[in-house]
């Protein structure tokens, strides 16, 4: 039995998968932007990854129990920051979600994602039973809904939704009763078609308002156009793809934000179904490896932290990939590790840092 966490105990298999996904992401960013005014973007992303890796090592040094100790403080800091952003954050694409940190624009809602993982892990770890009561559901819902609401009014529906899977997965592991789970699923299953049909009863201008609310950065026809172009790119890629740097949808810019939210469409066009399989299986490997870490965690607190990270990353992949093939509306959720973006990359590595944190301490007493 060791008494000190060591870097050798990092999950190197997990990091290999992360490295592979990041490398594919960098190549696709290069392919998408090298012939445009944005060329060289991949180097910026390399820097972000570098910062992320350092942050990952940094956060792994602080015992996650210490972090969970401070959960209420972190929660208050997180909410305060969100409020501050609403007040002074500057508007980009019509939404207030950015603050200047040392000349870089940071999306503070990314920070909230880390905090909610820690806060909910602490809540679930504190429970002494395997039975969730209605009071528990209410508390979990409130804890999640407050930051989600603040993010929603920025407005950033995508990131607000990302907080929910942390609560859902956590509640499931904390011992939600099967019949509660069944009722919950049933309610959701019923709400989806009702909501979908309700939408049709709205007047066109009301639908447009909702549409504009969901993604203010686009014109009323923009969202449909973007998804169509994305689908065209994916479909035109075929089984083998058009080849690196040869996707017309990608190279001519028809794929919207092809280096970020729609990077999977760009990859699907150039690398085909084969490329998509490789990427999605790498993500599955990532999720399975994370779950494995959860299974091997020293205590439930550690497991909840790891599974919070897993829930968020899994949700990102699912929603982003569904959007690219037109199964879900455009919500601005990036593909972790592949989409270009400082804040989201930093978040992913910090989240992975939490996982390493738990893993390193599995044998430590």
């Amino acid at each position: 039995m060791k008494d000190r966490p060591r870097v050798q105990d990092f999950d190197w298999t997990l990091l290999a998968i992360v490295g592979a996904i990041s490398a594919i992401g960098l190549l696709e960013i290069y392919s998408s932007t090298h012939a445009s005014a944005m060329n060289g973007m991949q180097w910026k992303q390399v820097i972000w990854i570098g910062i992320g890796v350092i942050a990952m090592f940094g956060i792994s040094r602080i015992d996650y129990h210490t972090l969970l100790d401070q959960a209420p403080v972190l929660y208050v800091i997180g909410l305060a920051t969100l409020l501050v952003v609403l007040g002074i954050g500057h508007s980009r694409f019509g939404a207030r979600r950015w603050v200047d940190v040392g000349g870089q624009n940071l999306q503070v809602s990314e920070l909230m994602k880390l905090i909610i993982i820690i806060v909910l892990a602490r809540y679930f770890a504190e429970m002494r039973t395997d039975r969730l009561t209605l009071a528990d559901y209410a508390k979990i819902a409130v804890l999640t809904a407050i930051p989600a609401g603040l993010i929603l009014v920025q407005p950033d529906l995508g990131t607000a939704l990302v907080l929910i899977p942390v609560a859902v997965v956590g509640a499931f592991l904390a011992g939600i009763e099967w019949r509660h789970a069944a009722v919950g699923l049933l309610v959701v299953a019923l709400l989806i078609p009702i909501g979908w049909n309700m939408r049709r009863h709205l007047k066109p201008y009301q639908q447009q308002r909702i549409q504009t609310f969901l993604h203010p950065e686009e014109n009323p026809r923009g969202a449909g156009y973007q998804i169509l172009q994305s689908e065209i790119a994916v479909g035109a890629g075929g089984f083998w793809g058009k080849g690196f740097g040869k996707g017309s949808q990608n190279q001519l810019g028809f794929v919207p934000v092809r280096y970020s939210d729609f990077i999977l469409a760009a990859l699907a066009e150039e690398q085909g179904f084969v490329g998509v399989c490789v990427v999605l299986l790498l993500y599955l490997g990532l999720i399975l490896r994370l779950t494995d870490n959860a299974q091997k965690a020293k205590d439930k607190a550690g497991m909840y932290v790891v599974m919070g990270v897993t829930a968020i990353l899994g949700f990102h992949v699912l929603v982003n990939a569904s959007m690219v093939i037109g199964y879900m509306p455009v919500t601005g959720i990036p593909l972790p590790l592949m989409s270009y973006g400082g804040s989201s990359t930093a978040f992913v590595f910090l989240a992975l840092g939490l996982v390493m944190n738990v893993r390193m301490r599995r044998f430590v007493n």
Partner: protein
């Protein structure tokens, strides 16, 4: 260990495993989605992707030029640039809008309106913010390539009418194809194509319009051309040579512009129907239509009571007045219903069927020659009464009145020659014999157009050869109808028309004689209102004046019909015709034609003279 942490090690392995399975299921779900798009429907999307990036840019073919008979350019086309605004970056557009407005001489409000109007168009499609860019505009765009990158130039071909409104009524104008025409020819045209809308532009549209070329280019998502795939050059439209003589045309235009006369004129080669000049006043400037006519301007042109869009040379259906006496005389001589030696006494008026009919003065005893030369109404009242409406109708028809001449212009009007059948069909009552008295001097329910009268006089002077007036120089296959008149009739009538110009008691009082030119003609003065209306108005409106001139008097080379609405007497119209005939001979004899010396003619004074208010205009 913190108080909150139970250090619970009971990890729910089963539930974690379930999470793994659900994750795997999600990945399979996604892969099925990708499979559908990338394998099952791949071909469909590959097609869409190809169409996406390839855009066909039309290369507009220039329309053919129109030349006069000597090859001088009357109408041509020139390349011009339209200024496009790319809208894919709305914020930047907004920021640069004031600078763009200032640089292109547009108002900010106007630009904003254009942007608003296009706000539901796909953002990657640029809009045309200025259709006809000036050199300064182009320089502005070129010099701001770096800082106002959203401006672009597109080459188009525009119609140009270098002489402005000269010959405009015959030439017509071009414009964007109408939805109806587009529907008729969906394969040939696309929206926004420029086609001939009126006049010769429309008549000869098929020759004039070329075949647009096409450049296929690869564009990016904001429509920027990345490279050219292939190029199909435009085939320019064929030029057409007109029979118009620019020199004669200019003289005729100048004559009409003096005192802003209202009316029409046609000058043609009486041997083959080649039109040498055609004027209609008031008129318009076809250049106004060439770019994109503002709806307001169009409304003004279209609702103007003076009908500037009407080509009076072929569309003004007015009472021919005394010009019709030539038809009357031909009928009298050819039908032999009345002896050629018939004379009548003119005391200045005569009574028929209980009504008093005026003559302009007492001519005394007149024979046919004198009656034509001095235009005695009483003589022809009697002739008309003796001939009857049916005989008059027959000869008028045979001489081409009451039917279209077949001139190569759209919209020609047929005029009207009444008959018993017409009266019953249109008026639902028997023909009043008294009406024949008015018709006999070209008044009442009888109308003709200038082109019909020119053709009729040419036919009378050439033994009954009815030529077809036309503008196209190389026209072949135009049939000339023939209605043989005896040499004697031709001699009598042409001598009388010579008398109108050259004899002392002729209606032109010898004012338009031409030296060394065998110039003949016939005046006409048509009331624009009945005597009853005159009494009611308490004033006398000005008459429409006609003069149909020809030279030489037999087998003429040139015939000119001129109508001046509100001119008063036909004799005052004669100088316009004289100027053209003189210019024709001057040219023929190697002199430079001189521009107009026509005496001043009182212009139309009020719009009451317009066609709409003229009681002699009849549309059966």
């Amino acid at each position: 260990m913190a108080a909150w942490n139970a250090g619970d090690r009971k990890i729910p392995q089963g539930r974690l495993a379930l999470v793994s399975y659900v994750s795997a299921a999600f990945v399979i779900f996604l892969l099925v989605g990708f499979w559908k798009l990338q394998v099952v429907q791949s071909g469909h999307y590959a097609d869409l992707a190809e169409k996406n990036g390839i855009r066909s840019i039309p290369i507009i073919a220039p329309r053919g030029t129109m030349l006069d008979r000597e090859g001088r350019v009357l109408v041509d086309s020139y390349p011009s640039f339209s200024i496009l605004l790319e809208r894919d970056n709305p914020k930047q557009v907004e920021r640069n809008l004031p600078q763009i407005a200032e640089g292109l001489g547009l108002t900010l409000q106007d630009l904003q309106q254009q942007l608003d109007a296009a706000r539901f168009e796909p953002k990657f499609l640029p809009i045309i913010i200025k259709p006809a860019a000036t050199e300064a505009d182009i320089a502005f765009v070129e010099s701001h390539r770096a800082d106002i990158a959203m401006l672009d130039l597109m080459m188009v071909q525009r119609r140009r009418y270098p002489h402005g409104n000269m010959l405009a009524s015959a030439i017509g104008y071009v414009g964007e194809i109408s939805p109806q025409d587009l529907e008729k020819n969906p394969d040939k045209y696309k929206p926004g194509d420029i086609v001939g809308k009126a006049g010769l532009e429309r008549e000869y549209n098929d020759q004039l319009e070329g075949t647009d070329g096409m450049r296929r280019v690869v564009v990016n998502s904001v429509g920027k051309v990345m490279r050219t795939l292939d190029n199909v050059e435009a085939i320019p439209g064929k030029p057409i040579q007109l029979t118009i003589d620019e020199d004669l045309q200019a003289i005729a235009e100048a004559d009409f512009d003096k005192n802003s006369k209202m009316g029409g004129l046609i000058a043609m080669d009486a041997r083959n129907g080649e039109i040498l000049a055609m004027v209609s006043r008031p008129t318009f400037d076809p250049n106004d239509f060439a770019v994109r006519i503002a709806p307001k301007e169009w409304a003004i042109l279209n609702t103007d009571p003076q009908t500037p869009l009407l080509n009076r040379a072929i569309q003004a259906q007015l009472a021919p007045g005394s010009v019709f006496k030539v038809v009357e005389a031909a009928a009298m001589l050819e039908s032999k219903a009345i002896p050629a030696t018939y004379t009548a006494y003119c005391p200045g008026s005569a009574t028929f069927y209980g009504h008093l009919y005026h003559c302009d003065h007492a001519h005394g005893q007149v024979d046919l020659h004198r009656a034509l030369v001095a235009s005695c109404d009483v003589y022809f009242y009697n002739v008309g009464k003796m001939l009857g409406i049916e005989l008059i109708h027959q000869y008028a028809n045979d001489l081409g009145l009451g039917e279209r001449t077949g001139i190569d212009l759209p919209g020609e009007e047929p005029g009207l020659i009444p008959s018993e059948e017409w009266s019953e069909r249109v008026n639902h009552h028997k023909w009043y014999a008294g009406s024949t008295i008015s018709v006999a001097i070209g008044q009442g329910p009888i109308t003709a157009t200038p082109v019909q009268l020119a053709r009729m006089i040419a036919a009378v002077a050439s033994g009954g050869k009815l030529i077809r007036p036309h503008f196209l120089k190389d026209a072949t296959g135009f049939k000339t109808a023939s209605f043989p008149l005896s040499d004697d009739t031709v001699k009598q009538l042409t001598d009388a028309m010579w008398g109108v110009v050259n004899e002392p008691d002729g209606t032109t009082s010898g004012t338009v004689k031409l030296e060394n030119v065998d110039f003949a003609g016939k005046t006409g003065t048509a009331q624009t209102e009945s005597f009853a209306l005159q009494a009611k108005l308490g004033k006398h409106l000005k008459e429409n004046g006609w003069f149909i001139g020809l030279a030489p008097r037999r087998d003429p080379e040139i015939v000119v019909a001129a109508l001046v609405q509100g001119a008063g007497w036909g004799s005052s119209v004669a100088p316009i015709v004289r100027d053209i005939v003189k210019a024709y001979y001057d040219k023929k004899n190697g002199h430079t034609p001189q521009v107009s010396t026509a005496e001043n003619i009182t212009p139309a004074q009020s719009t009451a003279h317009s066609l709409a208010t003229s009681p002699t205009v009849q549309r059966p």
